[in-house]
Symmetry: C2
Subunit: 276 residues, 2 copies
Amino acid sequence: MNKKNSESELSNFLIKPDSKVNLKKLQTDYTGKLQKEQSKIELDQLHLRMSKLQYKLHAEKKQALLIVLQAMDAGGKDGTIRDVMHGFNPQGCKVSAFRAPHQEELDHDYLWRIHNEIPSKGEIGIFNRSHYGDVLIVRIHNLVPKNQWSKRYSHINDFEKMLSDEGVKILKFFLHISKNEQKKRLEQRIANPTKHWKIDEADFEERKFWDRYMKAYEEVFEKCSTPWAPWHVVPSDKKWYRNLIVAKIITKTLEDMKLKFPKSKIGKDRIENLKL
Amino acid sequence: MNKKNSESELSNFLIKPDSKVNLKKLQTDYTGKLQKEQSKIELDQLHLRMSKLQYKLHAEKKQALLIVLQAMDAGGKDGTIRDVMHGFNPQGCKVSAFRAPHQEELDHDYLWRIHNEIPSKGEIGIFNRSHYGDVLIVRIHNLVPKNQWSKRYSHINDFEKMLSDEGVKILKFFLHISKNEQKKRLEQRIANPTKHWKIDEADFEERKFWDRYMKAYEEVFEKCSTPWAPWHVVPSDKKWYRNLIVAKIITKTLEDMKLKFPKSKIGKDRIENLKL
């Protein structure tokens, strides 16, 4: 596939600002014309490019990259981090998993704990869940009243705009799986003793709210996919296809950041004076 | 090489508790009978084992691993993290780089900022420099008086013992290079525009104190290589050999931790009741 085709392929997964979103119409098992074996070769090549781009980001130390991952339970957030972000050096790549907030976090506004985890210049930050939980699970379980959570979409856009103005490039991914695919994955976790630890009662409870989650996600994409912090909805029933698309979008984004190695502060003469 | 030979090879690099250390007698360019090409194949295999062991550590969530890296400038701390720790999933692997402390850190005891970065259960923590700076650079530049830093060896041993008792396995590595190898690496950094950012005036200043650093390191190894937190001095002039030895010691340590997958909390019947 040539570069132009590849880019237009990626734009299929982008939610354009202010567009209407119907998740039922977005295929979860789409894989284009690609074969699994071919995707592995491409992913290996992308890992090499990602690694070199991260090195440059780290050297330049002027910009940061924030990658937000959201999905239903068993949607593949952990797997995406393991299989895709594995291309990054752990030094300079920080993963933050946001679970139910603890007391000190609840004693602050909902963006306080998020702000604390924003990557610094030169770093890549990966959010396993995020501030979007504050308009998703919080909304569905009425953890705060509607007149409070409904104001958050614009807070979030403002917050992300500030970050973007200050040099943080933001990419947001929704890993889109079908309800049936979730069932299969939960079954696999129960059947496989090395995956038991990943499953708990809450997975089954949240599943009951599937349709309400889809509606809440649609509103997130409609209101919070902005030019400075776009949402991508990635077909994720096939893990290999999900990995490839996420890796491609990250690589393209890093390439578009026009990273540059800084100039030397030390002259060549300095070394000549070095004694043994 | 069979397993027994491999283990006795690794013990060559271990500093036995209460032993005298003379760094001049420890070869920096040792590579055994190994060839570079063979080491790459072995390192790839170790990455796979490390990745599986980390998954189990994360699943078990009862123990943590802390890896401390110390070296002279250009000694290979960053390279070791990139080339060896790259085998780990960034989710569950946190790298903490300790530079000159900022004001809030200076307003606390020297272990305060260290304690804050200790990995949690299920995690791997990597320290790029560490609390040992508080008996190294601090000592050499008289940043605190001798009667203060000289008490720190036993604080550090006590602190590390507490961590060990609470489930944190500690491994400490000194990446041992010759003064001549440092000169070569500084020259390469000046010659290579993609490495300029890694070099600064302090590298040249600190080099002048080489012998005093070696003496301070020897005292660290003599006083702080304990059964619960051993120091390894790794010959590091050859990067490929350094990578292999560090990866081998980490892998063996994780294997010795007897990690176990936890039992399931959810019965198989649970899934049968799942509706689509």
